[in-house]
Symmetry: C2
Subunit: 293 residues, 2 copies
């Protein structure tokens, strides 16, 4: 059986899941797909993907199931709920690419191992447009043999990955920490550009300064440009990383820290800013819309 | 009169001031220097710099005076205090490279203009070792003719600069905003690497991930590496950007925002972290020592 003929399912067809599915179809994989609202699967069906009506129907015992859903509850339901994938997958591999907490990762790893299979935690950094180009960066952890088995898939879906070993919680923690860094930079850019605007300094000038020379970072530049745009246009930016999902991630980071006896100062502040943005009706806007809250 | 024969003074010989003085001597400038404790001037005297006993004695009417001191009070005293440089400089240019608040910049600009001269605000990003290599990044604002006059000096002292126009407060505000970004990133790295350490994940692995791939930023990498070192060694890092100076800068940013009717959420959190570090005896350590507080 060649790599592309492994029974492969992809569950969760939001912006990220759709981008991943299209990459896999481009690379010649046969795909079973599932989404809670089936209509999102239609463009994939037109490309030859088979659409399942229930999660468990999408996966094959001993195969690989990729999941990309919005939060821990959705992942838990999809995996262990009625018609969930855990039993149907059996001794297969659950390649979980959602951003979830370390407790969920450990629980699902134990449950899949009880069924003879494995859970690999492989959340990714990047927005849907980056995913469509295969330029995401991944972090990965879980049982070694299962990590080796999903490696060819991750080669298609990402430009590279950091391997964090056997503990399925590790990749979750590193992903949450990375998102915290992004959100703290975004909140600090909101401070710095708002301060500058209060002194009649052009936010776009600053976005270039901070992104090109001071941090010399494409990511800082992207976020700074978004914050500058929100400040200048007084209009929210379209979501790539929404306030709602950001709030979920920073809450998970704070919970994961508390569970391990650490306390995070910046995380609480970033969350307060996202709370305010939500209250201001910006929940579905991009996080770079914070200056409008 | 060639550029290098303009009467030139440099006042304030801490680590940054000394590095700037040596660059100017290397480039062939004649220098008058002043420092509150004269003994720091000795290595410069051995290289031909003339050492003044009082600030006003270091500068020449119509010449250029560069200042690099630690805070607003020191700059104010050096400029307008007894034996200060403002009167002695007269219609010359005060090239102020310290990180100070916008109110101080505007006050000193008005005072120097009253004497027929000008104040150019030109704070720089970078540590003393970067200054020694001429690789600082500058931001500059002030009267146009005075900016043109000091340009050759900044060409020697920096690798480039962002010109922010006539308002002497602008460069101060942008410098404070930039330091806020750096300190927020440093505080978020402290959160993220502490969270990871609580899950037994190697901080050095994360420093590489966040610096090389996620942000792809030399500055993030430097700070992440420092935070990782503090976490692993349980020892503070030697100061490049000390907790004490960082606290001063973030306080100035918050004050400048309040004066302009803006409020900064991240700044207050970053300051609280620096307060804790100070209380823990880390005031003279590098800001990357925060995980030890």
């Amino acid at each position: 059986m060649t790599t592309t003929s492994v029974p492969l399912a992809l569950l969760g067809l939001g912006h990220m899941g759709l981008a991943l599915a299209n990459r896999l179809l481009d690379a010649g994989y046969s795909l079973h797909v599932y989404n809670r609202t089936a209509e999102k699967a239609r463009p994939l069906a037109e490309r030859g993907a088979r659409v399942a009506e229930r999660p468990g129907d999408a996966v094959t015992r001993g195969g690989i199931a990729i999941t990309m859903v919005s939060d821990d509850a959705a992942l838990d339901g999809l995996t262990l709920g009625p018609d969930g994938i855990a039993d149907a997958l059996g001794d297969g591999v659950h390649l979980s690419m959602s951003t979830v907490g370390p407790a969920t990762a450990r629980l699902l790893a134990v449950e899949q191992a009880r069924r003879g299979g494995a859970y690999v935690s492989a959340p990714v950094f990047g927005r849907p447009d980056v995913a469509a180009q295969g330029k995401l960066w991944g972090v990965m952890s879980g049982a070694a043999a299962a990590r080796a088995r999903v490696a060819p898939l991750l080669d298609v879906l990402t430009r590279g990955r950091t391997d964090l070993g056997d503990d399925p919680a590790a990749a979750s923690v590193v992903k949450l920490g990375g998102n915290l860094l992004i959100l703290a930079a975004n909140a600090a850019l909101t401070d710095a550009l708002s301060l500058a605007a209060a002194y009649d300094i052009d936010p776009a000038t600053l976005a270039a300064l901070y992104g090109d020379t001071l941090f010399a970072s494409p990511m800082i530049k992207n976020y700074a440009t978004g914050v500058a745009r929100a400040l200048s246009s007084h209009a929210p930016n379209d979501p790539g990383f929404s306030v709602r999902l950001a709030r979920k991630d920073v809450t998970l980071a704070a919970e994961a820290a508390r569970a391990a006896g650490a306390s995070l100062r910046v995380a609480e502040t970033v969350r307060a800013g996202l709370d305010d943005a939500t209250a201001a009706g910006l929940g579905d806007a991009d996080v770079t819309s914070l200056p409008l809250a």
